[in-house]
Symmetry: C2
Subunit: 208 residues, 2 copies
């Protein structure tokens, strides 16, 4: 329950805190200070305290944060306390890798439906999840109440797919297509472009 508007930068750090805390819980560490968390995550301790304080006072002065309590709170803040279903559109190399990676490893956000326009692919399975024709997308998303979409289709189709996802009820989109998607009204879009990452990285080769 955010008190006011939360900086996007903060939201993007929360999953990192959560991952670190989960590891600590696994290792039976019960309490951690912001300074220790800082060392493990690479962010400053003030930043961590400030980020967490946006959502309330989770720590104990003079002591630190309860790892289990804080990780539970972060899960809830992020909306991961119940499994989040996501739909993947596009089962090419990248889409398939993402699906395998996600389905085998992670539980919080889980790809429960995959769509592709290629009839050769539909009917196949990725880690037990069937690839279905794109025509069934809207209905499936509505029926299953899916709110999150992952786009891994060729660039020229990405914007259209985003719109279809929105129309079906999706509210947050992760786009891997090498093009910038303009967020359809009422959706949040995060673009992740691997080619772009590589290209901007090239700038840092042979400098400073």
């Amino acid at each position: 329950m955010p008190r006011n508007r939360i900086p996007e930068a903060t939201i993007r750090r929360l999953p990192i805190y959560l991952r670190t805390l989960s590891d600590l819980v696994d290792d039976q560490v019960e309490v951690i200070s912001s300074a220790e968390l800082a060392e493990k995550t690479g962010f400053s301790s003030e930043q961590i305290r400030k980020d967490l304080a946006y959502f309330g006072a989770f720590g104990v002065r003079g002591v630190g944060y309860s790892t289990s309590h804080l990780s539970q709170c972060l899960r809830r803040i992020l909306g991961l306390h119940k499994e989040v279903k996501a739909v993947l559109v596009g089962a090419g190399h990248l889409g398939t890798a993402l699906a395998r990676y996600n389905i085998t490893r992670h539980k919080d956000v889980r790809i429960t439906a995959i769509f592709d326009s290629d009839p050769q692919k539909t009917g196949q399975y990725i880690e037990g999840v069937p690839i279905r024709p794109i025509g069934e997308m809207k209905e499936t998303i509505k029926r299953e109440g899916i709110k999150m979409g992952i786009i891994a289709v060729p660039a020229p189709e990405a914007q259209k797919v985003a719109l279809k996802l929105k129309e079906a009820g999706v509210e947050a989109i992760l786009n891997f297509a090498p093009t910038k998607i303009v967020p359809p009204e009422g959706t949040f879009v995060q673009n992740v472009d691997l080619t772009l990452e590589l290209q901007s990285l090239a700038y840092y080769v042979n400098r400073e």
Copy 2:
């Protein structure tokens, strides 16, 4: 030739400008204004002008920017005017998808060597590039003068791999392992964590 220190945010936008400009060149468009470029990229025209101006005056007042000249300049600024070689470490699902995606599509930054510790994988090929044992990594990187590394190994190994890459002469690292890599002295590290992206995205489901 940067006049002073360039904001990281600017560097990350340059490849997007470049991509848009390349498309324009292909479409025989010779000149474009910052306002038109703004519409195509989603950034503001002032921002685009400011970003470009960090590197010099590429535009013509009253006219706009020459698409071919500007794209050439951006290529040079990013260091993409000559092919940039990159090494991929880790040929699991994600690494393999990245390699296929990169090798088949892109020319600017090209994966020319792939390494994996699994003897079952070494000897296989991804799009014509052989997967080699990790023991050969250092020597290959040195011999080929590779400055860029892509890490797609399991989290516990990522930091070690980063250090090895640095020792071999790599200066910029793109890390896909689900852990934050602390940049070894003298390297620039960009962490891209797909799981994290999905988790922070979950926050935007069912809000505002």
